[in-house]
């Protein structure tokens, strides 16, 4: 992660304003993700981080701004261009219980993208690729004919990841992918993300509210508050020497699983303004 590689995603002046609201949900957001880089977007609920992700992925149409993936403009893309853009940008959502069609088998869920984009038209080749993908995320080939119902939350999230990776996207957009998982399962999925990133050279936009999770996974970090990015920089800068007072306050609020340290942190924590 030298930060010298080519820019993959460029978001410029993104605005999302909903009718009848005073403040924009996303207010002039700009950032870049370079090839092989993981950008973490952190903030509290309602700060606009998920809306930003949905605008980039083309799931909702922003009021203004531009989004470029490589050389292509995402927001003014034609229908056919959008299809190939969707292949290049895949999403993993928070809730693996509602993001997977319960009536489809794992083979169909993971293989769907391969079929839609004509990557493995032949049935056997498709199946082989699905088995390969399942292996990559740590699921046995015997999962193929089973449906999401018979898997745990962590396993379902692995299926969702395999499904997203099937079409070899250039950018993976993850919206709170581990926040509904138990601690031990969360650790497994985070380790998996790290492994896949190294193995495949993945570029990621990783959205989360948990600052420690973002620190574990991301090279670059952007902090959002009320629709705006208040601070953006490398992991070491944002966590080691935060410039914005909001970032400092967020970091000071994170509990540390070490009793003497945490007791002291709890005793001294103060919020600057009444913002709750």
């Amino acid at each position: 992660m030298t930060g010298r590689s080519e820019v993959l995603l460029e978001v410029d002046g993104l605005v999302q304003r909903y009718p009848g609201t005073r403040n924009a949900a996303v207010d002039d957001v700009s950032f870049q993700i370079r090839i092989g880089e993981t950008l973490g977007l952190v903030g509290e609920s309602g700060c606009g981080k998920s809306t930003t992700a949905r605008c980039i992925a083309g799931l909702t149409r922003p009021t203004g701004g531009t989004v470029r993936l490589g050389t292509r403009d995402v927001l003014s893309a034609s229908r056919s261009a959008l299809k190939s853009l969707r292949r290049d940008m895949q999403m993993v959502f928070q809730d693996p219980y509602s993001s997977l069609n319960p009536r489809m088998t794992v083979a169909d869920l993971v293989g769907e993208g391969l079929l839609v984009h004509g990557l493995r038209p032949e049935r056997r080749a498709r199946r082989d690729r699905v088995v390969e993908l399942l292996d990559m995320v740590g699921l046995p080939a015997s999962s193929l004919e089973r449906r999401p119902r018979s898997f745990s939350g962590g396993q379902r999230q692995r299926i969702a990841i395999a499904r997203a990776l099937a079409v070899e996207p250039r950018l993976l957009i993850c919206d709170e992918p581990v926040s509904s998982l138990d601690v031990s399962v969360q650790a497994q999925v985070l380790n998996l993300f790290k492994k896949l990133r190294t193995q495949l050279g993945l570029s990621m936009l990783f959205i989360a509210h948990d600052l420690a999770v973002v620190r574990y996974l991301c090279d670059q970090v952007a902090v959002m508050q009320s629709g705006r990015i208040v601070e953006i920089g490398s992991r070491d800068q944002v966590y080691g020497a935060p410039r914005h007072h909001y970032t400092r306050e967020l970091l000071a609020a994170v509990p540390v699983p070490d009793p003497p340290v945490e007791r002291e942190r709890m005793r001294t924590f103060r919020i600057s303004e009444e913002s709750t």
Partner: protein, 287 residues
């Protein structure tokens, strides 16, 4: 730093659970046991955390203490002071809830009645025990102010939807503690809150417990908040207690493999982010 008199008093447990088993189901034949005989105790004024992942039985244990599930069959013993709660009538149990045990749940919105003014809800535990309306109102306003709600007098007659998430949780805390319970059971009280609000709510709970000498049973999956809040910890998995002890020794030197795995699985701000997180074998059993 406790005096000998304190120690004598502390020797007596406020809550004592022995061999508790909880099963759900209509008939004895198809009942599923989810808590398999646990022991647990809380001294007066003590803050105990019950930690575990989903399915560990931590919430079921709390619900058993409160007698909340009419379809649960309990065996073993739950003693609160002089009362044996497992055999208490529903009516007597209702008197214990609120007066002697307060409770807070994860979702403050679900815990509040949306069509009732928050003040009226806060006053309820006092009103139903015969306190006059004027006094109940004054105590409610004082408490809400103590919990950091600005202009508590004016906001007392607002509805829940007029409050933010963090403020709603303060209302829920007010309802739970207004009747001065000796024990507060808080089941994931900050899980639905943003990190800064979580920190504030925990501080408030901590101060309140100390001021009133109230014992707290904190049920959570979050090892971070446990570290700062609890004096003693019980780690549960699959309906069993895996480990228990004082908070400092459990974090410094966990005995059970599961506790070690759990502690190593938490990403932390003060650890090397390039080190792989520990994982707990999925089907490792406590038995």
């Amino acid at each position: 730093m406790s005096t000998p008199a304190d120690r004598a008093q502390y020797g007596q447990n406020l809550l004592e659970i022995r061999g508790l088993r909880v099963a759900y189901g209509n008939s004895r034949r198809d009942a599923v046991e989810v808590v398999h005989g646990i022991d647990l105790s809380i001294r007066p004024g003590e803050r105990l955390a019950v930690v575990g992942e989903s399915g560990s039985g931590k919430s079921v244990t709390a619900r058993a203490v409160l007698g909340l599930d009419t379809d649960a069959s309990l065996s073993g013993s739950i003693r609160l002071g002089e009362h044996e709660l497992t055999t208490l009538s529903r009516r007597r149990m209702r008197d214990i809830r609120g007066a002697r045990i307060g409770l807070i749940f994860q979702d403050p919105l679900a815990a509040l009645n949306p069509v009732m003014r928050v003040g009226w809800q806060i006053m309820q535990p006092l009103i139903i025990r015969g306190t006059g309306k004027r006094e109940a109102r004054q105590r409610g306003i004082d408490l809400l102010g103590r919990l950091g709600v600005r202009d508590a007098g004016a906001r007392f007659d607002d509805y829940p939807h007029q409050f933010s998430g963090g403020m709603r949780q303060r209302v829920v805390i007010a309802i739970a503690v207004i009747a001065q319970p000796e024990l507060l059971i808080a089941d994931e009280p900050t899980t639905a809150l943003d990190v800064r609000v979580q920190a504030q709510v925990l501080q408030l709970l901590d101060e309140l417990a100390r001021e009133r000498g109230m014992a707290v049973m904190l049920i959570t999956h979050d090892l971070g908040i446990v570290a700062g809040f609890a004096e003693r910890v019980v780690v549960m998995r699959n309906g069993r207690v895996v480990e228990h002890g004082d908070v400092d020794s459990i974090y410094a030197a966990p005995k059970a493999e599961y506790t070690r795995g759990l502690l190593g699985a938490v990403p932390r701000l003060d650890s090397d982010p390039d080190r792989e997180l520990a994982t707990v074998a999925p089907d490792w059993d406590a038995s």
